[in-house]
Symmetry: C2
Subunit: 328 residues, 2 copies
Amino acid sequence: MDKKTGQDIPDQQRLLEAREVIKPYVHRTPVLTCSTLDQITGATLFFKCENFQKGGAFKFRGASHAVMTLPQDQLSKGVATHSSGNHAQALSLAARMRGIHAHVVMPENAPRIKVAAVEQYGGNIRFCPPTLPDREATLEKVVRETGAAEIHPYNDYRIIAGQASVAAEIYEEVTRPDILLVPVGGGGLLSGSILSTRYFSPGTRVYAAEPEKADDAHQSFRQGRFVPADKPQTIADGLRTSLGSKTYPIIMEGVTDILTASEDSIACAMRLIWERMKIVVEPSAAVPLACIMDNPVPFRNTRTAIIISGGNADLMNLPWMNQAASIH
Amino acid sequence: MDKKTGQDIPDQQRLLEAREVIKPYVHRTPVLTCSTLDQITGATLFFKCENFQKGGAFKFRGASHAVMTLPQDQLSKGVATHSSGNHAQALSLAARMRGIHAHVVMPENAPRIKVAAVEQYGGNIRFCPPTLPDREATLEKVVRETGAAEIHPYNDYRIIAGQASVAAEIYEEVTRPDILLVPVGGGGLLSGSILSTRYFSPGTRVYAAEPEKADDAHQSFRQGRFVPADKPQTIADGLRTSLGSKTYPIIMEGVTDILTASEDSIACAMRLIWERMKIVVEPSAAVPLACIMDNPVPFRNTRTAIIISGGNADLMNLPWMNQAASIH
């Protein structure tokens, strides 16, 4: 039981309730297939396209669940978070939809494009020096001053229950896939996927996909103990975070394996998805396909569902412009 | 009546037959919407996404119709065309599906990526010097030697009947839009769209979208006589061709207006579509949205369907990397 939110690990009933709560707000995203990528991987792949989600990423599901279930007496005080990524946009958008304030602490050096996106969705930005202690201290100050409810990007059962809706939707369209492959950063999406699989497709094995250069979840799984991320340098900027205290145990119990991919393979997979599927995906969203390319054996002759986590790519800075990402 | 193919302007029955012929081969592509682009344009827009079509463009519809209706005694001799673009890929793919040869005449200086795409689909490439007379002469030679049936990229009623299926599918999902906006190069897609509109959504007005720098159709419409393209320099490489003898009269009779867009607006619209809709589209496919941005009045408060013609963009050479394409 989480004392701050009064929540426990979501059970089947809670997952179903979360889906009902967010249904009026989220897009039901399509599941796409691609015969060329099937040929390349020797698997039958189903891509759940959360790059088409509102705010451009799955993050809106968790954020809207947290915001829409906020207690009545909290509404006037709003919500708060520190994030420079998709969660900040998602929370701002969800808050605007409910007509409440979202306070977003961002580092001074956040990319202009991400600041603009949060502003566009109506978030109140508070800048701080670009270190984690500064971000946390600034967020504490904002919460103290405003009384806003802190909504953590992944270490929160309301967020996990919202992200779980991605896998639940997959299982309504793709009957009992052999494998569900999910990118892992802080583990909110992966935890939710594991819970949905337990209740809605128990025969499906859940694999996680992580950059080699941010392999804290892989190391934690291998070593059987929590290993934090150590100065991750990957282009998959959404996957640089460490697991949290609520996501770690769900993942250790429920994941079949955590695979990694090289930076070259991530860039190559991203380009393949753009070229072959004609969709814009961010580097983090290409990590699952990159993991299949780097670890093909478990996927051969399987029906594998993949979560495309988001599409907020920087169109001025594409990885294949800078490195020799040869197409396999 | 076209003496070479024995065909006439397709009537309603012919359009319905064409749809049945190609149905097992083509993707039924989705119709997407985007609230941000609705806000920017003041219209309600429906995007028919032929970038998701096989071969990455609508061209596969016409090509597969021509190939699948080829007379039995022609099969052993195959088909031929000269093209360096999407038609070459589409014809090669359709021919492979029917198990026949496709001979493709391409200029020696064709981009490596386009040559590779035709090869991948199994087309037999014959290179020639990069002038139109050379291409036509080489094609004549190939046809003489092989007996292959020439399939022109747009000036052919079988092609027009195939391309007409795009608009027909739109009208099944979007009931009676006020406007259908179609990019125009050689006019195959536009002619087919006009015919489908006449039979399946007669109240809808058909507008065409053309680059300012390749405005031969616009000039033809304004002057009431055929004006050929004069050294077109547009980034919308799919729209550099002139109208044909079969597309010109259908367009002149059926189009409400032919609008043009500047190069900056095309680059800006392309980027907006990538950023906001998270789909990969080629420059030609962004010309309709660019035309709305440059000519907003006819579209305000209308329900407008737009054909996204293709997604075969060169990912190494994106227009916003080279010019100051400011987002409006």
